[in-house]
Symmetry: C2
Subunit: 212 residues, 2 copies
């Protein structure tokens, strides 16, 4: 699968002459996308604590008031940025449910590891995990987003008791492997092939997703 | 089980009069323990990046040279501190292998969650995860310590193919649940009872640890 890549910032000519009015949407139609891309990059590089509205505005070449105008508080900008970062993972429910029930675990594992194996999507995902680990507000934003966008859709079509609990335990297995493989880099899990991992992890996910 | 708690810093009278010689071990027999406890607390509170030898020395009320004298570089101090932090987890191999093979998965789950459920051991463990996520050197120190002290002993007595890989996948399941339960605090996994978690996770660990 192809991870969603952020829209390149629009660099066309600005409307009108000179500097646009502060806090208005007058900086051109590309300003919102440019801010969002800047926010994604700032959060991914610096983590939640060290990212500021001012820094995002500077990177996007807009006035800080425009960041507030489009996205609100720092937490809300973070929410919009991680929505972009997590976009590659959001297809997971369709992948899991789009096939025979007995292949659900393997499809889930294959979907997430394809996302994690791609550095373009992996590095921002690690940044999101880091932000959640270091900041309560960031953890709350992440929690809400995963709940609304991923977990509810994943659990809705599971025919097991406690489907949300089951979906979380499956997600936990993948998150834990990601920690050991990409962050702590322990051998042999760090250099195992994705197929070797899926052969062992797929049946675990299958049990959570389908066994009553 | 009772997680190991750090020795309280020795606060007895110092030997001799006045300030002891710089860089020597003359600050009394309690100095080493005091430095180690200070290092543990500093790393747990600030994470790897923001902790300095100078800050540890200040907190332990010793000269920075004494920190170097006992522990060497910042990485080495971190290694000693996380060895203390991870001490509660180090009994896992004995717990896993100390009973019938068919109960190994449940014993592993029960052992680790008892450690994680206790805030005294949980908070420093989260700090170690945070440090590993934010700093390559910290990740390398953690990797070496887990490898030498935990994984080798855990894998040695497993009668399965690729025992280290299996032990890591089991550990990954627990680390992932810890992330969702204690850091992101997603429901229902955040407020499930330990028994509910173990009922679902135990069979997963069991399969990794014993099924060929």
């Amino acid at each position: 699968m192809t991870p969603a890549t952020p829209q390149p910032p629009a660099t066309g000519p600005r409307r009108g002459r000179g500097r646009p009015a502060r806090g208005s949407a007058a900086e051109g139609p590309g300003a919102r996308d440019r801010i969002l891309t800047a926010a994604r990059n700032e959060f991914a590089e610096r983590g939640y604590d060290k990212t500021s509205i001012r820094g995002i505005a500077k990177s996007a070449e807009v006035d800080p008031a425009l960041v507030h105008h489009y996205f609100g508080t720092k937490e809300q900008v973070f929410g919009a940025a991680i929505e972009l970062i997590l976009a590659p993972a959001m297809g997971a429910p369709d992948a899991v449910h789009g096939g025979s029930p007995e292949g659900a675990g393997e499809r889930m594992a294959r979907y997430f590891f394809a996302t994690w194996e791609n550095p373009v999507s992996r590095l921002p995902l690690l940044a999101v995990m880091r932000s959640a680990l270091t900041n309560e507000a960031a953890a709350a934003v992440l929690r809400g987003l995963i709940e609304r966008r991923l977990l509810m859709r994943m659990a809705r079509d599971l025919d097991v008791p406690d489907p949300k609990f089951r979906a979380q335990l499956a997600a936990a297995q993948i998150i834990g492997v990601a920690m050991l493989r990409y962050v702590i880099k322990m051998e042999p899990v760090a250099s195992a092939t994705v197929d070797e991992i899926i052969a062992m992890v797929g049946p675990t996910l299958q049990r959570y997703l389908t066994e009553k």
